[in-house]
């Protein structure tokens, strides 16, 4: 086996193969792996391969040197031609056909595909390459196909289906040959071959690379032409395998192909753009897929779970193995479920498979699930993004191969896809925290305040200040929600301070009133501890400052109208008090309330008082803060005024939804008359609070009552001013806003009122318990 004479063709072919196998580029030693694969590709029985290996001396050396390699190749040719393996045969047999390698396709294909990725996609396999005869055969053919694809699209040779046995195989062979020949002929074959073969590295070993898809994609017409020509030159030696004739090497076409190979990438890309991408999904196909998707998963943005997909695709009657492969290709994010894009890709692959197309090794680009940046990156390297990458599954597979950019872009895309995928997922997770509306629940602060807060009353001062501020400030500003919303601190001072602040800030008299309301409320609530409250009230009343209006519940101090009204007529501290108080009372309750409480109750008095104030206040705010009315009300009954006040009290009534209890309390102060009126008023106005409680309250707490009346006055004034609202409101928007505010205020007032009532209820219950205890204690004596 020493002396080996090779023909030129053989020489070239062998050198190509050697280069291919010589991945280490040592020019001397061929990697065992590649060589073995190559030998396996020769489709010789393993014993023969072993024999060959021994004969060529590789076993001796442990590796394949160039000479050993050549010898081996020659022996392979010998074996393939059916001759016995003999050392002598190496040189003796003349006209030995070149060794044919079938399996090697993977590599060849890969190479080809790598070189001509575009081709793969393109190959409009239009009948030029007849369908793979059969699965089994297809396998072998796969490699051929792979080889096909890369073939230069640019060669214009008509795609002549290799009129040989396995239609595809010739193509593959051709390609390979061409590659080899090209390498030999023109460009540094080594380069070409090496370049082409390197990608195949991965593909090796036994199972035919699923380049099926590739071949389908590839029906490179130009290739075929060259193939044909090649073929002619070299009659197929065996029918079972398309002869990989090396003679084609000498073909000029091969040269052409080689040349094209060199520029393959770009050319392919360009030319590929001209070809139809067999993997592209047409619109009607996509629509069909979408419909199918809907049958499984109505939500187009949802997933199809693996089990459902399995059932669905099993219906296609494809073998499980292939379905498994299709799943691997299409489940891009490997999550065990199919999105719409993934489903379409899988369906398309199934369809292609059923039509005879072989499955690609890698998911064709056109089938990749659309990710955010996929298109961009895909297009960047390729002018024909669709065609480029998808067509070269093999090329894609060997990511490591230093193939032209196509290869590289694919892995990048892959990774990118992953990243994109994750990115898109992540992005969807962005959430915007719901912004808590600070204006919400203005009532809360009030209610908070309402709760027992020892009030150190120095309301007078504050009132005074507030009033002044209010006066100075722009009145027309509605009691802004900030005012309402501002949680009045429990501490009196802070409350007052805040109120002051509000006053300054908003310059709304109402705001001041608001605060006053709060104060009043607190006062009312803390009846027990309001040691100062009465004083405060009195003090407040003294300098005509509006004692904290009893209708703290009103708290609609920020009623627009009221403000305006008040602002219009600043009348001093009282006014400020009034201003503070005008809780925007929704006009609604007016009529109801007015009717209710007006039923000749004492409450009416209060109402009347309010009402009397209200009309006055309409023009003048200060009237509202007319605590004199309170006093009058508290001091004496004014039944006479009821009648008058009724209408006026209507607004007051309304506002008094919160004020109701206050008034009731107030009324209780007056006791007798109050009780009934209170009850009635309350009942009419509000959900019947425990009336007896009211009575008790009144009996127990005068201070509170005192506080309440002012509140109720305020409320009344507020109510009174309500009617003026429409007048004052020039614009609808303002009116709406004002009404909204008023409603809010009313809500606040009611909430406060509710809390106050609750508190009162508790207190009363406690008292009752204490009384009962006393009773118990006394009882024994009584019995005695």
């Amino acid at each position: 086996m020493e002396s080996l004479t090779l023909t030129d063709v053989e020489q070239k072919y062998y050198s190509d193969l050697f280069v291919y196998c010589d991945t280490d580029n040592t020019k001397k030693v061929a990697s065992n792996g590649k060589v073995l694969d190559l030998f396996r590709a020769a489709q010789l029985p393993s014993e023969v391969v072993l024999q060959i290996t021994e004969l060529c001396g590789a076993t001796r050396l442990g590796h394949f040197g160039r000479s050993q390699f050549y010898i081996a190749l020659k022996l392979i040719a010998v074996a393939q031609s059916g001759l016995p393996l003999r050392v002598e045969s190496l040189n003796s047999v003349k006209d030995l056909p070149l060794p044919r390698f079938v399996v090697a396709k993977n590599e060849q294909e890969a190479r080809h595909t790598a070189m001509y990725p575009d081709l793969e996609n393109q190959g409009p396999y239009q009948g030029v390459i007849p369908r793979p005869p059969g699965r089994g055969q297809v396998k072998k053919v796969h490699t051929f196909y792979l080889m096909f694809t890369p073939l230069q699209p640019d060669t214009t040779s008509p795609v002549v289906s290799p009129h040989q046995s396995p239609p595809t195989s010739p193509h593959a062979w051709r390609k390979h040959k061409r590659q080899a020949s090209g390498g030999n002929v023109e460009r540094p074959p080594v380069v070409v071959a090496g370049a082409v073969w390197t990608p195949f590295r991965e593909a090796q070993s036994g199972p035919v690379v699923v380049g099926d898809g590739m071949w389908s994609a590839h029906s490179p017409p130009p290739v075929q032409e060259s193939w044909v020509s090649l073929k002619d030159t070299y009659p197929p030696s065996s029918s079972k395998m398309p002869p990989m004739h090396l003679s084609p090497f000498q073909e000029n076409s091969s040269i052409r192909t080689v040349a094209s190979v060199t520029t393959a990438n770009e050319i392919q890309r360009q030319s590929s753009s001209g070809y139809d991408d067999p993997w592209k999904i047409t619109d009607e196909q996509r629509q069909y897929y979408i419909n199918q998707f809907k049958t499984i998963q109505p939500d187009l943005n949802g997933f199809i779970p693996g089990s459902a997909a399995k059932e669905f695709f099993t219906k296609s009657k494809l073998p499980i193995l292939e379905l498994s492969h299709i799943w691997e290709l299409s489940d891009f994010d490997k999550d065990g479920a199919l999105t719409l894009d993934e489903f379409c890709a899988a369906f398309h692959l199934v369809v292609a498979r059923k039509n005879g197309y072989d499955l690609p090794e890698k998911l064709p680009e056109s089938l990749m699930p659309k990710l955010i940046d996929l298109d961009d990156s895909a297009e960047v390297p390729d002018q024909a993004p669709d065609v480029g990458y998808s067509g070269s599954p093999v090329e894609v597979t060997p990511n490591k191969s230093p193939m032209p950019s196509l290869n590289q872009t694919w892995p990048d895309l892959n990774q990118g896809n992953e990243q994109w995928e994750t990115f898109s997922e992540r992005s969807s997770s962005s959430q915007t925290l719901t912004q808590f509306d600070s204006n919400i629940a203005p009532a809360d602060p009030d209610t908070a305040i309402v709760h027992p807060v020892p009030i150190r009353m120095t309301p007078s001062k504050i009132h005074m200040q507030e009033m002044e501020l209010k006066r100075t400030g722009s009145d027309h500003t509605h009691p802004t929600s900030p005012l309402m919303a501002k949680p009045p601190e429990l501490s009196e001072e802070t409350k007052l301070a805040t109120s002051m602040k509000f006053v300054t800030a908003n310059s709304g008299k109402c705001q001041g009133m608001f605060h006053y309301h709060k104060e009043l409320r607190t006062i009312a609530v803390c009846r027990s501890n309001s040691g100062t409250s009465p004083e405060g009230l009195k003090v407040a009343a003294a300098p005509p400052p509006p004692p904290p209006r009893p209708n703290a519940s009103h708290s609609r101090s920020s009623s627009l109208d009221m403000n305006r009204n008040f602002a219009a007529h600043p009348t001093g501290p009282q006014q400020s008090g009034v201003v503070a108080c005008p809780p925007a009372i929704p006009p609604r309750p007016l009529p109801t309330q007015t009717s209710g409480p007006h039923s000749g109750h004492r409450s009416d008095e209060g109402l009347a008082a309010h009402s009397t104030t209200s009309p006055q206040q309409i023009p003048e705010q200060p009237n509202f803060a007319d605590f004199s009315q309170f006093q009058a009300f508290a001091a004496s009954d004014q039944p006479s005024d009821d009648g008058e006040k009724h209408p006026e009290s209507l607004p007051v009534e309304k506002s008094t939804e919160g004020a109701g209890p206050l008034r009731t309390v107030k009324i209780d102060n007056q006791e007798d008359r109050a009780a009934a009126t209170v009850n009635s008023a309350k009942g009419s106005i509000m959900a019947p609070p425990p009336k007896p409680v009211r009575r008790r309250l009144k009996s127990e707490d005068e201070l509170q009552d005192e506080a309440l009346p002012p509140k109720s006055n305020v409320i009344a004034t507020v109510l009174a001013t309500l009617p003026s609202i429409p007048r004052s409101v020039g614009k609808d928007k303002k009116a709406i806003q004002a009404s909204i505010r008023r409603n809010k205020e009313t809500n606040t007032v009611l909430a406060r009122l509710n809390s106050e009532l609750q508190q009162q209820l508790k207190d009363l219950l406690e008292e009752r318990i204490s009384l009962e205890v006393q009773l118990e204690q006394l009882r024994p004596f009584s019995h005695l």
């Binding site: 065992n32 393993s46 590295r201 991965e202 498994s324 799943w327 691997e328 490997k334 999550d335 090794e361």
Partner: protein, 139 residues
């Protein structure tokens, strides 16, 4: 880098075995089989400590004159065995770990495939290609 890579199921039958030098395949099969004993020993060595405390990577199971055997067990008692050639520049532990990680990931992908029935031999091409990538380098 590896000469042989094997995936053993929980019941200790092979799901996937692949060797690079085809001739010695049987030898590697035998090697992997014997390594199972070592794997079992290491698994049980943890004792009461459950899988949480037991690391998946088992490390070098046992060396022979020609090669070293590394093991890796998943929480579902699926075992990965890598037979690496000793003559090669000794692979760092990290490299082996990364190989196992890749194996595990690929195996998970295979499992996710609804068409794969657990217990079947692994015939995924993606898995094959990944394994080939790991093995080709070395040979």
């Amino acid at each position: 880098m590896a000469v042989c890579i094997a995936v053993i199921a929980k019941e200790n039958y092979p799901l996937y075995i692949r060797s690079v030098p085809v001739q010695n395949e049987l030898k590697f099969h035998y090697t992997v089989h014997t390594s199972l004993d070592v794997v079992e020993e290491k698994i049980s060595a943890v004792g009461k400590a459950m899988a949480d405390q037991r690391e998946l990577y088992l490390g070098l199971l046992y060396p022979t004159e020609d090669y070293k055997v590394y093991g890796y067990v998943t929480n579902s008692k699926v075992k990965f065995v890598i037979v690496a050639d000793s003559s090669n520049t000794s692979l760092r532990d990290n490299e082996i770990r990364s190989m196992f990680r890749k194996l595990h990931n690929s195996f998970t992908d295979v499992m996710c495939n609804p068409f794969y029935n657990p217990g079947d031999t692994i015939q995924s091409k993606a898995f094959d290609s990944m394994v080939s990538a790991m093995m080709v380098q070395a040979s």
